[in-house]
């Protein structure tokens, strides 16, 4: 695709979101793990000074390597703060019709009131969450009855019509979880988590460790669920293929920082941060067997991250300023028409070139990507 086409696709995306308001806003969010063992305090800055906003009705992807803070960010956005995770600074707000809700200052009752009905969560490995000794229909009834007035007949009818709408076989209601395949269990769990029509859905690695066919079924179901009520879906996964197929916008995390955020086509076609460029380039593609190298070096330990830009030890473009100063996350000038969400990058040496043409110069000595 030409850069012009990429830009126009970006603009189209912007137009879709023009009227939309922000559903989630995080500002200066710092979520650290603070542990004390034998008098030694250890601080892991898993999410450090992160600002983002998620618009209503969009599918927002959060990408990055393992250990870059993706899941911690999701916990913070959900307001699920359990020690040793500590919110050191910043705020997270939801905005629904009823006004703004501070996600980090909710009481247990507040959280209970919005959980599943307004804010829903699909956990990692969610195919194992179904009660093995109850039939699927009983699980649905338990779930619905815990959140609203219902009778057994009403809730089973509700489950049946919802499964039908999503194109799942309603016969599964009579089965026990062990009788279903892993992919079917995963999809039943997604149906369960979204039956009360939440406005905001968080999904943590919903497809990891699933094989391709099942993965596709799960992704298509998530898309279906999102489109049905035009709800907002926040999707955390390290699988860039899933981001390419599902999301409207992608945020790339590196070592607890947001390094780049743009609409999906820009992230894949014209990323500006060297890390994002490495991430996209290292992906194997069907029909191309030429050698691809992983990202050199490894992500830093977050209890003692490097000074300046946290990517500088692995970056081929790094200079002195990168070692001393933290690059601010700034909108790229001259892109978009000012109405859509901007393309934001945190880098002193942004690369302004489409990916095919402007390959990063690889360092001569390639350390292994561990």
């Amino acid at each position: 695709m030409s850069p012009e086409a990429a830009a126009s696709a970006g603009m189209e995306q912007a137009r879709v979101n023009e009227e939309a308001r922000n559903v989630v806003e995080a500002e200066g969010l710092k979520a650290w793990y603070i542990t004390q063992a034998y008098g030694v305090e250890r601080t892991v800055k898993a999410v450090d000074d992160l600002t983002l906003s998620i618009r209503e009705g969009e599918i927002y992807g959060i990408a990055g390597e393992s250990g870059c803070g993706k899941s911690t960010l999701l916990k913070a956005l959900l307001g699920e703060i359990v020690s040793p995770l500590t919110i050191v600074g910043g705020k997270v707000e939801y905005e629904f019709d009823a006004g703004k809700i501070d996600a980090l200052k909710q009481t247990a009752e507040d959280r209970e009131a919005i959980r599943w009905r307004r804010v829903s969560y699909i956990p990692q490995g969610s195919m194992h969450v179904l009660n093995p000794v109850r039939r699927i229909r009983d699980t649905f009834h338990d779930f619905i009855a815990a959140h609203q007035e219902t009778t057994r007949e009403k809730s089973i009818e509700m489950a049946r019509s919802y499964l039908q709408e999503l194109g799942l076989r309603e016969g599964v209601l009579g089965n026990y979880p062990h009788q279903l395949s892993g992919g079917m269990r995963q999809r039943v769990t997604i149906a369960l988590a979204t039956i009360l029509t939440p406005r905001l859905i968080f999904a943590d690695e919903p497809t990891t460790a699933l094989d391709v066919v099942v993965q596709r079924g799960v992704i298509e179901l998530l898309k279906e669920v999102q489109q049905r009520e035009n709800s907002t879906l926040v999707l955390v996964t390290h699988d860039m293929g899933v981001h390419a197929n599902l999301t409207n916008r992608v945020a790339v995390l590196y070592a607890g920082n947001l390094v780049e955020e743009a609409d999906t086509s820009t992230i894949f076609r014209r990323p500006r941060h060297p890390y994002t460029r490495y991430l996209i380039e290292s992906l194997p593609r069907m029909g191309d067997r030429s050698e691809r190298v992983g990202i050199p070096g490894r992500p830093p330990a977050l209890d003692n991250p490097p000074d300046g830009c946290r990517f500088h030890p692995r970056c081929p473009l790094a200079t002195d300023i990168c070692r001393q100063e933290v690059p601010p996350l700034l909108p790229v000038e001259g892109i978009g028409n000012g109405t859509g969400p901007p393309h934001r990058v945190a880098c002193f040496h942004q690369v302004d070139a489409p990916l095919e043409a402007g390959e990063i110069e690889h360092a001569t000595e390639m350390p292994h990507a561990d």
């Binding site: 395949s181 390419a244 992906l283 593609r285 069907m286």
Partner: protein
């Protein structure tokens, strides 16, 4: 088949494994591997991939190859020798040196309470690869160098001190200690994220090219399979439904199931979104007990014969396909009609 044995590193012939479960008076037979055949070549090292959905029998087949599972019927030859009927001594002194496993989760492979280098020392001593202290150190260091690590880096470290990619490299190094000709890697990358996946898959490529080690690479990740493998066998519910060079099988898949798999790959390209429908099994076991073709329940191009008769392996366009759509004994008009119904590429 008889001649293949001599020219193959590993020759698997109609291997079958049946699991029988009894509940009260009812007996259920589950044919986890149903007459699977494939061969890894001997003249040059290759990466051979076994791919398929979860529950397709890939892991059972790998365990059969490693001798961790007993075959119900069928034959298996390694360098021309029957390896299903080895004595314990032959197994230990020869076969296990030649064929070494790598498992899925490196953190489950190594005990968190043991230093990771102790596994390397133990394997070296158990297989008597070196006897003196210096000799053992040198041997271990050499294996670690092959995977891009060194003894100095990992000496005395515990598994939790290593990253997932490093721990998986150590488990490859451990497998290399006995100087094997074949590594059996069962889902070695499914626990790792994309960039680490590439580093392990690149390692297999370098082992093949620089150390002349063949790899039986078991995965459901078709993009890395396409990237690394020379040949591939697609498994469905215990059958090998399509096998051949990876450019042919994944490049222009013929079997409707392979086409379904290929269509389901999420390509890292926002322009290439999915076409058609993904067809999924509702229950894992129902397809194992189906008469006729095991894919008939999901196949878009299903014909009447598929529901009653088991298809045979057909050699067509440089690969082997287990499907009636390519069987010339079925009238051509009928096959063309079925392909058109299913919207498949002929």
């Amino acid at each position: 088949m008889q001649t293949d044995r001599e020219h193959s590193l590993l020759s698997v012939e109609s291997l079958q494994r049946v699991f029988v479960t009894r509940e009260g008076f009812t007996t259920t037979r589950l044919e986890a591997v149903a007459g699977a055949s494939f061969a890894i070549r001997n003249d040059q090292p290759e990466i051979y991939t076994l791919a398929g959905e979860s529950g397709s029998g890939k892991t059972t087949l790998a365990r059969l190859v490693l001798g961790l599972e007993h075959a119900t019927s069928g034959n298996m030859y390694y360098k021309g020798r029957d390896v299903l009927h080895l004595t314990n001594k032959e197994r230990r002194d020869w076969f296990l040196k030649e064929v070494q496993p790598i498992f899925q989760d490196p953190f489950a492979t190594f005990s968190p309470l043991k230093r990771i280098d102790s596994y390397l020392y133990e394997t070296t001593r158990n297989y008597k690869m070196a006897t003196t202290r210096e000799g053992i150190d040198a041997h271990v260091d050499e294996a670690l160098h092959a995977v891009g690590l060194s003894l100095a880096e990992i000496r005395g470290r515990y598994p939790n001190e290593l990253s997932g990619g490093q721990a998986q490299r150590v488990s490859v190094a451990r497998a290399l200690l006995t100087r094997p000709s074949l590594l059996v890697a069962d889902e070695p990358v499914s626990m790792l994220d994309a960039s680490l996946r590439m580093s392990i898959v690149n390692l297999f490529r370098s082992l093949r090219d620089d150390y002349k080690v063949s790899v039986l690479y078991i995965t459901h990740d078709l993009t890395t399979a396409y990237y690394a493998a020379d040949r591939i066998a697609i498994m469905l519910r215990g059958w090998v439904v399509e096998s051949g060079p990876v450019e042919k099988v994944l490049g222009e898949p013929l079997h409707p199931y392979t086409q379904n798999l290929k269509n389901a790959i999420p390509e890292a390209d926002p322009e290439k979104t999915w076409e058609g429908d993904a067809s999924l099994a509702v229950m894992d076991t129902e397809e194992y007990t189906r008469t006729g073709c095991r894919y008939a329940g999901r196949c878009p191009a299903v014909m009447d014969i598929c529901k009653t008769t088991v298809p045979r392996d057909i050699e067509v366009q440089g690969r082997s396909v287990k499907c009636f759509l390519y069987d010339e004994e079925v009238p051509e008009a009928e096959r063309m009609q079925a392909m058109a119904n299913g919207g498949l590429v002929a």
